[in-house]
Amino acid sequence: MEPVKAALAVVVLLVLAGGDAAASGPPPPPGATACSGCHAATAGIVTPVPRLVGRKPADLVAALQDFKAGRRPATVMDRIAKGFSDAEIAAIAVWYGEQRPERRR
């Protein structure tokens, strides 16, 4: 997302939450935070598991739908994607698209 749009999204969310949203952004949709057990959200980790943070939501939706339908080879994601509705997948994808990698000192 371009900076202007991102800023707009933050403003909209602040308004929606009565100016009360946490500084770090909107609350994650159901299921989203569980992904970072395997998909690193922190910078600087070397792992074969791809990152979700900052990915294009459309790409994430396509991948999850393919896993869910068994169209994409998987070890475990086929089993996990089946646990999410289309709406939940979309919400998770949008949220990850807006996240930035956490920097740890």
Binding site: A17, P27, A34, A41, I45, R79, F84
Partner: protein
């Protein structure tokens, strides 16, 4: 900045704490005071997530040890595949997040006054308390298995000295010895853990002491990823591992540490190395807080992880009764983040959203042979239940390349989760 707790200590903790309700004090600083007891996979994850979801929260983490020793992958340490240093993590990252750290054991909780007492005499007030103490071993559950006996027959079910003791015993064992693992009935920490341990010990024996045998005496008739484990054992360790289920007399009814014997209803087994994994319960502080029921574990309400027994207290991780979710580090971390979102919401007066949780547990059957079990969970009927149609185990038939890939993903999981929790 003046530390309120220091003042409390100086002025005579009890008197002042009674005069000034701590939560009110805390609220004047920001949004609310949250105390987390236990800095393991559940508690440390929760403290961090609370700060991330609402930086104005005052979060205090109470942890008995300055260095955390992780159980996941500790089976690799036992057989010399990993070093103990790879299992150890400090709390500097949490301090940098603005979490107040108190290195002391929590000894008492007063749910009415909303106060936690620490072993060093400190007292912490809270608006919301998270209890995440993991497990305690039950020293009253298996005749003969005392804390002293565990020095001869290690459990190695809390990682640390016990892990190293079992490692040393295995290394010192002569080729041709019998290693016995006693596995407990459900529920217990890490359902596939005893069988991953058996697999890796079998790998070690096959590699270094090939005339030895491994016997698993089990207090149950079925276990996690059973068909995958047993398939791999036939393939990799034929005639090395024997598993005796409950129905065939597998349940250990007493042990004698001096002679290294384990007694079942049918036989007495003499071991060269005995690993006794005894029955467990929620960490003792859960009982002291009044959040554990007669089972020894803590019933919770599945949307917020609030105790069903005490208001204002949330329980996460191994200590909680989380329905279909296993007692795993992955589950503890996922619950912690859902609980943190709920607490941030409750303190901000937002309506709570139903969480959706995931668990993925990898086990190594050999260094380059991984298998997994996964599940997706949601609240229903007051419990966390499996989302139907999702989850399950790795395919029973799969090329070795898939097993190799899962072993690599297991490694990636450990790095990722420990960086998120402690990094």
């Amino acid at each position: 900045m003046v530390d309120r707790r220091e003042i409390l200590k100086l002025a005579g903790a009890a008197a002042l704490a009674a005069a000034l309700p701590a939560p009110a004090l805390a609220q004047s600083k920001g949004r609310g005071q949250v105390v987390v007891i236990g800095g393991g996979f559940a508690g440390a994850s929760c403290a961090r997530a609370l700060k991330r979801f609402d930086p104005r929260l005052a979060v205090t983490l109470v942890e008995a040890e300055r260095v955390f020793t992780a159980c996941p992958f500790s089976n690799g340490v036992i057989v010399g595949l990993r070093s103990m240093a790879d299992q150890r993590f400090g709390y500097q990252g949490l301090a940098q997040d603005g979490i107040a750290l108190r290195f002391a054991a929590a000894t008492a909780v007063d749910p009415q006054a909303r106060r936690v007492t620490l072993a060093d005499g400190g007292i912490l007030g809270y608006d919301r308390l998270v209890v995440a103490p993991g497990i305690d071993l039950r020293w009253d559950a298996l005749p003969g298995y005392t804390e002293e006996a565990a020095q001869r027959m290690p459990h190695a079910w809390k990682a640390g000295e016990q892990t190293l003791l079992l490692q040393r015993q295995l290394a010192a064992m002569e080729d041709g010895g019998v290693v016995v693992i006693a596995a407990p009935a459900n529920p217990f920490r890490c359902p596939p853990g005893p069988y991953e341990r058996a697999s890796l010990i079998a790998w070690y024996l096959k590699t270094h002491k090939p005339r030895s045998k491994l016997l698993i005496l089990d207090a149950k008739d079925a276990f996690s990823k059973q068909r995958l484990f047993q398939g791999a054992w036939t393939e990799l360790y034929p005639d090395l591992i024997e598993w005796v289920p409950l129905s065939q007399g597998g349940k250990v009814t007493s042990v004698d540490a001096a002679s290294l014997t384990l007694v079942t209803d049918f036989a007495t087994h003499k071991a060269a190395v005995a690993n006794v994994i005894p029955p467990q319960q929620a960490g003792r502080v859960a009982q002291r807080a009044g959040v554990a029921d007669r089972s020894g574990w803590c019933p919770i309400e599945p949307v917020s992880f609030q105790s069903t027994l005490q208001p204002g207290i949330h329980v996460i991780g191994d200590a909680a009764i989380a329905g279909a979710m296993p007692k795993s580090a992955f589950a503890a971390n996922a619950q912690a983040k859902a609980c943190a979102a709920a607490i941030a919401g409750l303190l901000a007066g937002r309506p709570l959203e139903e969480p959706r949780l995931i668990n993925t547990c990898y086990s190594l059957v050999a260094p380059d042979y991984g298998i997994s079990i996964a599940g997706v969970y949601h609240p229903a009927g007051g419990q966390l239940i499996d989302v139907e149609g999702a989850g399950g185990i790795s395919p029973l038939e799969a090329p070795r390349s898939v097993r190799q890939q899962e072993a690599q993903y297991a490694d990636g999981w450990f790095k990722t989760i420990t960086a998120e929790v402690f990094g």
